[in-house]
Subunit: 476 residues, 4 copies
């Protein structure tokens, strides 16, 4: 059923589809309604395949099912559902049309709908993650690594409470993004690998399958093995919801780091700061009325998407509860899980695009560093004074900074004219700070590189995982 | 740009579009990306129209703009946006193509993008509410009124904590739904009527318009009057976000009542209760493996949709904050507001469909009422005993119920054999309760009708409001 | 039961109690567990009082109850609850101890626990709002008005996307805070005035009271009238939850405005901006290691409190659902409502304290205004050029700004050397802007004052409301 | 500072303190404001201890600090904070009072406040988890295991959509709770073990410590090793927030399982079902007006607490963002983390108490099983028919169930009179089902035991972990 995309209601399927056609098409392979039905059919194929192997279903049944799998369309299944009012029964009815009468009765036999629904949901989300989302995360991680390396020694004033604190390096800041995002990527992968399937029937106790198979737990394991999945240790009608919840927690918390990065950079692009920011394109317009504007609108966009999608995790926590062996109140809501994954991925893509041409203004970085006339050296001054045994060092230095501020002097002159600092002033450390105040960056440079190397190794492992990953349906 | 709906990611644009084609098309007129652009153009027309009236724009400009408004397509605007990277500038550029060169410079003149974006958002959401959502609410209210009237005397055991309490009537329960939902509908209408527009420029201070108009606040009022809107008392670049927040609060809290109704009925459809429930259609399938199942899946669906959409109100509270005169982090998220309205409306539609054929099983209602052997008469027994001046009445009656329970007797026989109750047993009230224990329903019947009449009047007023409502664009 | 406050778990009862002893004690009168029990007893008194008037309860019963009301302690009630496992039955049992045996049976007669719990909750929250929270809001509104007036002409660069836009005045910005917060205050008051009580028994149908009173609805109205409350149009065991939900929505959305204000100012206190900010006290320490730091920690605190308490509104939406005539899953959660009100009030107090000594740095305001060499005049330049009929005005001006930026010139010189601007350059408007670029503030000053006058009137009305408000228990 | 607990605002510190004195006191050791200060001091001791070992601080300094640690009180620190307006500087000033002047300057030297705050937060929460929360979880797990074992063969009708599905056993249902809760417990432990500390200074780059120590990263590791903690791979001023977020995710998702259990059981206690439920105590009152009521109020309480605390996880996701090297907007909110842990623990305790006397009504279980006249055998009937090669088996059986329903017959008689079932009727499987319809429980019994054994092993490991856990301060 064709429709103009601009008639869609969800911004994901209209505006954000349009601005990400390629990526959205990639995701759609796994996350659209079309994929829902394809993957459900895939589970039905896997069932027949094991039944044939067991000698329960007739020989050749699997071949017929694979052909049926290719033939069915969502249109057909939806048309059938209008009669059955039941989506999986509709699917089974449609599949039956494409196989011989001897094979037909075995389709779905002993399964409950959720065996198919839940298992296929795990499967297609895992495929989406390994084929689209994780590679996109890796691309971002590599960008971050590149920036860490390139800017490991680029000094920047550190900011706490929005106030100048003491210096770091740009590379060190990005090492932080790298380590945090990398950590989330690992959480995502763990959660994806932990997604489970089920083939345990209507209440999870293998009632129906016990009638047909000697070892119904083994039948479950065998069917799921066809799909490279494992059964949950326990299931009611549904797989324990915590597996999917953990994945969405991992995705949403990774999204939070994208929001942090975006927030940081859009503030660093403030007119008064101008250290980092978006590049401005030739024909780009910043404001429809203020022709001079250059806005960090892409970073703002990512923050905004996070604001929209982060709260949706509440639904996942609500969906932990399904009365007794299951109520259906997690069904409609469960379908929307794909929106969170989609929004995360296109936001990531947005950042990646910006990072390809991220503007780092080294002049402004330098200018801002000196903006307080090196007042930040109050910290080393206090440390050096205290390490000489001065108990009131903090108070003394605070007074010195107030004096400098009041008299408009720099800290050096105040310090040199105050004999309480005489022991400090003579140290090599203070001398170095005086001559190179930008050198007060501690281990920023070294730690940035250490973190970089750590993630170089980690990403190699993750790339391997991705390369070795196989989609089940590709085999057919 | 045509696309198979099954390729869409959002369930709203695929599965739930398919099951609500007519209603979704109605909503799409106001809530799709297409409508975004149409309504933005509408605001541009309104601006020109006032400028022409003021003698600022050339005579005939408005006519040209109305033609341009009809010609533009989202495709064109999106294509232009790829160059400008700015949606409203793109819109203006495209509109300029369809008008004379003397008119072109006045398009959007003195406005900031958000004057158009924010105003058009208020407008199209108001239209959607008055044209689709509120009438749908009214339809539901009328269903509720019909049920209240019909079942005002149908006795049902009241339940608190899931335990039998004392009796009410089905009509009284629905009077509660009616009063609560009706109250929310009024909140919705108040909030819709309170949506505001703006035409106050980039930072809300009428800087640009002050250059052209003697009374820029009047210009704002006049432009908005063309659209039947009023300006906010204050705006920065954006309209105060609380107007839209109040609307979404009203919608989400109305949604909560749909969830309550759904929850109540799906529990009343439990196998052991069977008082109310969904009708089962001829070809309908309850379970793919359990042919005997009759599930309350529509009520479960509504609850599930509420679980998905209710938490999204958090985004609206987050969007209250927009730094200084505005940051853009409410832009993408602001676009998703339409999803909440859509989900609420299709859930309402789902309930309406079920209520057309709501199953009320009078036999089970009666059977359940007597299930505890009238133990619920413990309440009137305690009241009557206490009103005779017995301080320990509550304790005495509790002991009687425990005795009845233990000995498997009904309460009457326990009471009659215990002389502490002799004063009570002889009252007319107790005699009536003994002969007609189902009569212990207090004012359930009368209050149900009183509430019904209250809402009959209210809905007449609301219907008038809807009938008198005019869509601006229909006039053109 | 005495306990060291530092042993408490909730920061509200330890750290934030300590930093707001007076205010917290004021709130505690209405919002503590102590107040829970006192107000519940108050409702019991009101019941007896009407019963005595009706001639149902013995003459003098009310007097006895008022004495009992003063005597009971939470300790006693809690001790009794250990036996009954039911809080209201415990309360009734304790009250019975302090009255004559003839009066005792009438205590609570015909009421269900929730008649007392729900009614008293409305009552004590209304008292808290009128006695503490609304006056505190008014104090804040008056501060805002004072700043609006004082700074109505103080020019400040407007900021959108964190970028310099065009100028406004500080007073105008605060007029925005005033209008938004004032609007929320009115919402709060409406919601408070709309809180309801009930006296309709176990399932809301007046079953028990029908046995005793001819007109049980009137009995409900009369009891509630004693407490200056009105009954809900409908109640099940509980009052419709939407009344309280609306109040918490109003409070949380008012809290959002405090967060916006705090965010704005803490950013304006950034080292590079320094326009507004906190005053620094004599002995104050900014950082334990960086003696030079002056942090906007109070504004950060308010934002942080909002982050903690805003999401809790989700619980209120969840609490809309109470199965059938009531389940108890809104009971514990309902008790925590008071925390949101408390957190809002102490955050407001924090802002009030800061606003008493708010630092406004007029020099930095001026310096920042000129920071871009008046690049913001690109807007009026574009407006003036377009109003001369130049279709490509926006593009031409954008090019001019890029040229100015690239060549490090100011906009004036670029404009003067480009003949496309010759018509504009000769206008009085451009001449004025050139000589007084800070004058480009549109209606900022006038609108600030208009909004101020609007709220002067509104606050007079609100003050009257507060002055005329009576607490029921004060009468006794 | 002593205060009547009933004056507290938070229900946690009043009502729920009172009902859990012992447990709350245990938690208070780690989660109160008192503990905040004690643990912060503990970190200061650890720093000095390493400095003394390094020869930086004077010999004997650690001994002095341990004494100081014991002497300081929250009162003192709070009094000092009124001057400094800075909590950690206040702590340091107070500690300095209790040590010699030679030691004083080394206290806190090179640390930023957050080194102490963040590290101590990890520490005290880890202690709380290992000392109180995890053991409480284990207690619950053991209860669940006991019930699984005892009820592994107790047949119960399975319920999906609130409708009778097919049978399971009570033990199998509890095996599901066990597996899900056990899984969460492991997540909790992983997250606790992953909590990190830091000693990297104001912006995380070891600026200050680089002045004093040759290898400041090693200094960090050594100080944290004193506390059995590890540093984060990266820190800004704060530890990466994801470690704490993961813990709260684990706790909140474990809480969700408590809510599921509570929901299940309170529904099973419904008057019409009566299978599982709370025991009623001798003097207990169910309702203040309905003496016959026996309510599942404890299970309702747990659900209600979950509704209150689950949404607060949103704050944790919000707290992922801290601008640049840190803003303070995670400070107040971060303090409230302890409330979630507390609420989870007392809710768990509530369940444990109920489970000690959980009522399982075997008669009602049996009665309900037969309630539909074994209609649930429609499933095996369909399976057996289909496995004979009947393509339309599902439809045929559905018709049979409708016929049985309509004619009020049981399924056996309908089946026997319909020759399409003749092949099925003769099977051993059908004969067994007819003679023992309660035997249709699949692997419920076996899987219950398998899951039980799995968790017996797991809990042994967890118990070991707990037994080997050492609190740092206990050593002193």
């Amino acid at each position: 059923m064709q429709r103009d995309i601009y008639e869609n209601i969800s911004p994901l399927d209209a505006r954000y589809y349009k601005s990400n056609v390629k990526l959205m098409d990639d995701l759609s392979r796994y996350l659209s309604e079309n994929s829902v039905i394809k993957y459900q059919a895939m589970v039905e194929v896997a069932m027949i395949s094991v039944m044939e192997r067991y000698g329960v279903a007739p020989s050749g049944a699997t071949e017929q099912m694979k052909i049926a799998y290719k033939k069915i369309t969502p249109e057909e299944v939806y048309a059938e559902e209008e009669k059955t009012r039941h989506n999986i029964r509709a699917l089974v009815n449609v599949l039956q049309r494409y196989v011989d009468d001897e094979v037909a009765p075995f389709i779905h036999l002993s399964a409950t709908s959720e065996d198919v629904t839940g298992t296929s949901q795990s499967l297609r989300i895992r495929d989406a993650m390994y084929r689209v989302v994780i590679p996109k995360c890796l691309e971002f991680v590599e960008q971050l690594m590149e920036i860490v390396e390139r800017e490991s020694a680029t000094v920047q004033i550190g900011r706490t409470h929005g106030q100048h604190a003491v210096p770091i390096t740009v590379g060190y800041v990005f090492a932080g993004y790298l380590d945090r995002f990398g950590g989330r990527l690992k959480k995502i992968i763990d959660a994806v690998n932990n997604l489970k399937g089920k083939m345990s029937g209507a209440v999870g106790a293998y009632n129906a399958s016990s009638l047909i198979f000697d070892d119904p737990r083994k039948f479950e394991e065998d069917v799921l093995a066809e799909l490279d999945l494992k059964p949950a240790e326990f299931s009611s009608q549904i797989v324990e919801p915590e597996y999917m919840l953990d994945l969405i927690h991992a995705v949403v918390s990774a999204f939070g780091i994208l929001a942090q990065i975006s927030d940081d950079i859009r503030h660093l692009q403030r007119t008064e700061i101008g250290e980092l920011g978006e590049s401005f394109e030739k024909d780009q317009v910043g404001s429809s009325t203020m022709p001079h504007k250059r806005n960090p609108w892409n970073f703002e966009h990512v923050k905004s998407m996070w604001k929209e999608f982060m709260p949706r995790i509440i639904t996942r926590y609500l969906d932990q509860i399904s009365e007794h062996q299951r109520d259906l109140t997690n069904s409609a809501s469960g379908r929307f899980v794909v929106e969170i994954i989609t929004a995360f991925t296109i936001s990531l893509e947005r950042l990646i695009k910006q990072f390809k041409k991220l503007k780092i203004d080294h002049e402004n970085l330098k200018a801002n560093l000196g903006k307080t006339k090196w007042m930040y050296l109050a910290e080393p001054l206090y440390i050096l004074l205290a390490s000489k045994g001065e108990k009131k060092a903090h108070e003394i230095v605070k007074q010195a900074t107030l004096k400098a501020e009041k008299e408009g002097k720099d800290l050096f002159s105040v310090v040199e004219s105050d004999e309480r600092f005489s022991d400090v002033v003579s140290t090599d450390q203070w001398k170095l700070l005086k001559s190179k105040p930008e050198s007060y960056t501690g281990l920023a440079h070294d730690r940035a590189l250490a973190i970089l190397y750590h993630w170089k190794n980690e990403t190699d492992l993750i790339k391997n995982l991705c390369n070795n990953y196989k989609e089940v349906c590709n085999e057919w």
